[in-house]
């Protein structure tokens, strides 16, 4: 049953200036599984997620120590960040489609990698939209502006354009916190379908969501991983008292 390890961090520390946001994180994330990160806001779960595709590089005062192994290779070293991001896609909290047409949005990533052939692009766009369960709703207005779609549709569009990159991992930073329950349900069952092709790592505030869709859950608190294990185990009898207090809602 032991699955292949996709990400493996070795005492990973992260500092914003002199504030330490992550304290010696050691975590192994398995392939083709949904791993959820939960914890109070400001506990560093999003910061850790953004380390996995080096999005934290955009922030000037960030300093990272320790290793993050992706398929055994440390991504903190001087690796090609562009290539890393084509293999590790990311979906953000607030849907952020580009102010272009639906087609252009999805074709954006492959075009940046140099794919020019029209027919291949069309096929890729259609496949991605089908995989993102959005094809039926937009198939006849592909060249309309993406900004005209609803919140839920926009988020699925972002998922579709990430899929179009054929990544191995999809990171999701609270993808449904800005969506209504119906759209959230659609995204959740989409994720359960996607997990057979991609490793999914999701940060979420809602523990019900973590319970429903994730195989493993990690509980973050004050920059540390308090507990990490199979989701049913974490939610029924957590080993650490702090996890139990958080899950039962005794503290913030």
């Amino acid at each position: 049953m032991d699955k292949k390890i996709k990400f493996n961090t070795k005492n990973l520390d992260l500092f914003y200036g002199d504030f330490q946001a992550l304290k010696s994180i050691n975590l192994e994330i398995c392939e083709k599984e949904v791993t959820a990160f939960i914890g109070p806001s400001g506990c560093g779960k999003s910061t850790f997620l953004r380390c996995l595709n080096r999005m934290n590089d955009l922030i000037e005062s960030v300093r990272i120590e320790g290793e993050i192994l992706f398929d055994g290779q440390d991504i903190n070293g001087d690796i090609d960040v562009i290539n890393l991001r084509t293999r590790v896609g990311m979906v953000f909290q607030k849907p952020n489609p580009f102010p272009m047409s639906i087609y252009e949005n999805i074709a954006y990533g492959p075009k940046c990698q140099g794919l020019k052939d029209k027919t291949q692009l069309d096929k890729l766009v259609k496949e991605s939209l089908i995989k993102a369960a959005l094809w039926e709703e937009v198939k006849d207005r592909l060249n309309k502006s993406a900004l005209g779609l609803s919140g839920g549709q926009q988020q699925r569009l972002c998922i579709a354009r990430t899929i179009a990159m054929q990544p191995e991992v999809i990171l999701m930073d609270e993808p449904t916190s800005a969506l209504d329950p119906i759209a959230t349900a659609k995204i959740e069952d989409l994720m359960s379908k996607l997990k057979k092709d991609y490793t999914i790592i999701i940060v979420t505030h809602s523990m019900q969501q973590a319970g429903r869709i994730s195989d493993k859950t990690a509980f973050f608190l004050m920059g540390e991983v308090v507990e990490y294990g199979e989701t049913p185990v974490i939610f029924t009898n957590p080993a650490d008292k702090r996890t139990e207090d958080y899950i039962t809602g005794r503290f913030g």
């Binding site: 562009i82 990311m90 952020n96």
Partner: protein, 293 residues
Amino acid sequence: MEAIKRKKLRERIIENIFLLCACVAVISLLAITFFVFYNGLAPFVSNSYSLWSFLTGVEWRPGSNMYGIFYMIVGSVLATFGAILIGVPVAILTAVFIAEMAGSRAGKVIRFAVELLAGIPSVLYGVFGLGIIVPYVLKISPMAQGESLLATVFVLAIMILPTVVSISETSLSAVPKEYREGSYALGASKIQTIFRVVLPAAKSGIMTGVILGIGRAIGETMAVMLVCGNPIAGIPTSLFSQIRPLTTNIALEMGYASGVHQELLYSTGVVLFVFIMIINFAVNRIVKTKVGN
């Protein structure tokens, strides 16, 4: 009751003062428009000079009642077009550097430098043009004098740099951070993100900057007067031939013109006014379409 009535009265009085100020402000603005058009169109209405020969004439000899400004329009348009050709690309790329690539400290320093460039009065650009550009153009020009279309284009290009840079830079930094993150997350490089996402998103802001730059270039008088040569006739045939833009024609002769000559200077003002109105209309149209989609 008395206090309330007095308070109400005070309110009304001050509101009327505001209204008065608004009216005076508006009247003075409209007065100029009306004044220029009234005086500018008078010679044609009383047909003491034909509009057609005014707009198409290529010689300006007030002494012998010849007032043609076509060669001036060509001069103004060529000078402005040249300035845009050189100034706008440089300005937009500088704005990209400040907004996207410079660190916060370097960005601040360059932004201050550009603001300083914008603050310098246009006369000093003219003095710079007279001191450096005209002698330089004289060296490389087949003609015998440095004052020329080329010198004017250089001076105007330098002058519109700050306007276009500062407006483009503000609209570039107004592009939401999420677009950049989205693009990076899809494996696009910094340059690709800038040229494929950020620039298109800030297009209308940049267009506004460019159009205001054009407005300033067409409207410039003092700096241009020192470097353009002000010939009395002749459509510019080469970069080195002299030009007399519309604005300098007014400034040169307004002091001593009288009668029809003076009215036709107002008409030159009307032509300029119409140019600017068209430009401002374009600005509003673009800003509206930006808000629209």
